[in-house]
Point group: D2
Chain length 321, copies 4
């Protein structure tokens, strides 16, 4: 620990919090902002009917980009045409029908995903005060299940920071400030409204696909992104942001310029405010289209899976313009 | 094989087909019907902003309902508070942040899911004529990946057959005819339009949750549902149905009353017409709401995961009324 | 809990223990008895050079017999001839060589196995006093690894209780007493010596293979076997038994006739004395041979795998007569 | 393919073969040499009762050495003290007993292992002529199961080539010739007898543990070892070698000096002669002891697991001196 490193609990001692705001048993946090009215506001953002799916391919032969220590998905055929050829299958009554079947073994956060609100904590307390001991053997509280039950539907707004900077992608470890986010929206001619779902494009994830794993991970994993600052977390709080997404693995600068610690926003936004993190999206097609027609808002639909006790879930978010 | 059993290839010899309709390399089939115009038609079905997520819980302690031979998801904590207590974790720079992480091992069709178009075939040909040998070691063609890339967004219509019959749920093995589907829509006061996504409710899946696995599987697995008839598959074809869903494991009567074989609609609709199957949904909340307000149509959003070579994918469909 | 059920800690309050006997950091317990001299004694038991492998088949299509709640092994081909036929493999420099490769997903105790000494505990203490909290996230102490490092090599003695009773197999839940074990040895004409490895045959496991899972598990899982009695655990202690095996899943009567609780010997022998449990062997061929030539002793070689932090390990013990 | 690369089928066209030697349905090959007499010969090699277990640790935090493309074992706790603390376990009748349980997900050849005879083939034929198509969906013939049923018990002889060269370990890609093996035995004062199990020590595997994965894998994976030459494969044939082991991942020079192709001995010995390959052993303790007492032979006991359809099996071989 560097001598300048600030303890996360101390750092966030008087930072904005949503604990208790929706009752002591609330497990979906800022998704509570996504009322029927906000869903309708999202729906009204649709003009053309164009759809964009933001999920990564899962289980590519060349590997998938993941947080160091995790691994990409392994996919196995439990049944395919080979089994039939080898005489290993008998399906009575199939009358000539044959089929393929398969299994996957994967980290729940090993691809495009939502974090459960309880995924990260400090001071032995998860979002809304649940005891961290309840994570033992599976998330008893603040798992992905209630978030998946709720769904994440609202108005999304793309903030294409890479294009705003005139670059293909941000560099390793670069920081994005709140001011830059707001400037970016301005330049794009889109207004970020209360309860919107910001989708921040850095271009970073494409490095993995274009230049490979070594270029992506480097000697030390260091993604670009927003990071903790008092004004930024207050802006999230005041704007009542229910969820946000990026095209990076962890949605924030890996080691914060400001705190010199890793991932402080997971403390300030996920654990304190209950903001939903939608990580590792592919945004290039959506961004090109927004650049083309000048329309940066859309209906955002995120539907993680209802994994009992899960710390997160794979998801394939859809943007409908 | 009973003597009355009809070979699937013979049965479907002159049944409607969409092979070649969208080119020789098409891998998404009837999802091609879901053009921007159809997306907008779906969006226009939204009135109140109410959302319903249709996915099953995954990895319940009591088990998940699956096709016999598959098993429910296994979920393991790779990291939880226990690891921290036992001194088994050191995250440099975390400054007090702790986290939980987990893996899942599951059948891709072991919960609410979309079938890939290549999941089932006969006569050694997948949808659109691809060689069944290309499934060996993973679906090279007609996997779930292009379908997930496309997304399934359109106007959904609930057909609550159970309520139409005045029953909690259909019985083991009962058949639903095309006429009954149309009567049900009539009685509900909703018109099924071309290119809609019908969601057929039988009430069947709740048997698993209410009475347990033994009651659900019985001595022989026999779900209720629609089945092959010439008029039904022609109706799907003429109506240009892109996808349909049910609250059963396989979306059709297990052993067909008509053909005495298993799952002939997987041949007639999935393999021949390229219709997307969205299986094993929970529909009771949505159905109760539709019964309440008399509105049976909605924006349907299905976003399977982009699993490379996958025969299907878990999904948590969302209905927005 | 029945009113007669006796708490395990109370039951074993003054039962024999080996804690501290081989130092405070000992993690292999009674395997310490297996000195070079005992290995030589085992070697001297070899006469004919006949070998018998005692492991179960793993991942049979019909399933494997396991403790309720566990499941049998799942086996998947990561590569086979089908992948080559489908053009999915390229091995530069192979010059015509092809190969198959595969993975397994299994419970470490889902087949013939050795329990780690830390697998079962009471009063928050593992064998030799290690804190049960050290099991969190993997066995830090008393895992299978040091036992596998040591190996289990000594003189084995078959005690064929089923044959002694003139039966194919013992019935559900039947008890075997210490006296019966000793009578059985007598009748067989073999002397159980200090530091021998007794292998007790009940015939029970064959029920699974002969009559299927339903017959084996029954309405309530209830294996036959030895159970806790004061004289029995003192006999194990006095005889310095390093390890013992059976052809049942748990090596003892499931619900003890004596204590009305489950598996008390796991407390008295594994946790208190550090005796190694070798469970779920197939003994019929060995037993038939012993019956045939009247020779019931052999060199016993058990070599569990060195699984880091494992609560146990699959094993294929070998008896050499 | 380099222009000098020789096709494996052409190379081995008239090489020694054991096909048909033990009948058309034989699936254990050269293990047939291990008769009772050979077992006794192995037993007679025991003098002191010292035992050495040769298996690698499985699932180390720092990773396990494997063939590129495979991965080390993943180990998860299905139950540990954390689950009890979190109130997630209830075992009726346990009376205070608690336990830990776990699963493993691993390549069957992802640690110390035996190859099944059908693991590698050419010309579409496995050992003894079985069709390579029978590997589809699981090894129908020449799987590890019959080899595990048989067991591998005989006289082992350590050939410490590293020490013979006065080195800690051989370098990347170095070749060992037959002459060197014989010189090494000579220098050690041990005679290699017919039907012995040679265990060849290169010191290579320790590179992984001492210097880490990067040093071990290098830019191109290139292990040292013996390789194909006509005299070597004839020596194996004439000596009736049932099995051999090494401390490398693949038991032979990765890219053959002689053929410029990869792993030709897997063709010449495993596929043609049915010789059992015991790969990735740790030999340093055994070798130090042999160097110490000058005794290089021992009873070798290898007991792979009876994995149905498996291409290989983890194993923890034991040498008893």
């Amino acid at each position: 620990m560097s001598t300048d490193e600030r303890d996360i609990a101390e750092l966030l001692a008087d930072a904005p919090s949503n604990w208790g705001r929706w009752g002591d048993d609330d497990e979906v946090g800022a998704l509570n902002y996504l009322t029927e009215e906000e869903v309708l506001r999202g729906v009204r953002a649709v003009e053309h009917g164009k759809t964009f799916t933001l999920g990564l391919p899962i289980g590519r032969p060349g590997g998938d980009p993941v947080w160091p220590g995790r691994s990409g998905a392994d996919h196995y055929m439990e049944l395919d045409k080979g089994h039939f050829e080898a005489g290993k299958v008998d399906v009575p009554g199939a009358a000539g029908l044959e089929y393929a079947d398969d299994v996957v073994y994967m980290f729940l956060q090993g691809t495009t995903q939502f974090d459960a609100l309880g995924h990260v904590w400090y001071d032995d307390r998860l979002y809304n005060g649940f005891d961290a001991g309840t994570t033992k053997g599976g998330m008893e509280y603040c798992s992905i299940e209630p978030m998946a039950e709720h769904g994440v539907v609202g108005r999304g707004v793309l903030l294409d920071v890479a294009r705003h900077r005139g670059r293909d992608r941000l560099d390793r470890g670069e920081r994005i400030t709140l001011d830059e986010l707001l400037d970016c929206a301005d330049e794009q001619g889109v207004e970020i409204e209360k309860r919107d779902v910001p989708i921040i494009r850095t271009g970073w994830i494409e490095l993995f696909y274009e230049e490979g794993a070594d270029a992506f991970y480097g000697d030390e994993f260091a993604e670009p992104g927003i990071t903790y600052s008092r004004d930024l977390v207050e802006w999230f709080h005041g704007m009542e942001i229910p969820a946000f997404g990026t095209d990076t693995v962890a949605n924030e600068q890996t080691v914060s310029d400001e705190t010199e610690t890793i991932l402080p926003l997971h403390g300030a936004l996920l654990r304190d405010q209950g903001v939903a993190f939608n990580e590792i999206n592919r945004l290039d097609e959506l961004a090109a289209d927004c650049d083309d027609d000048g329309k940066y808002d859309f209906l955002y639909v995120g539907a993680p899976l209802k994994i009992v006790g899960g710390t997160g879930s794979p998801v394939n978010p859809i943007a409908i313009k």
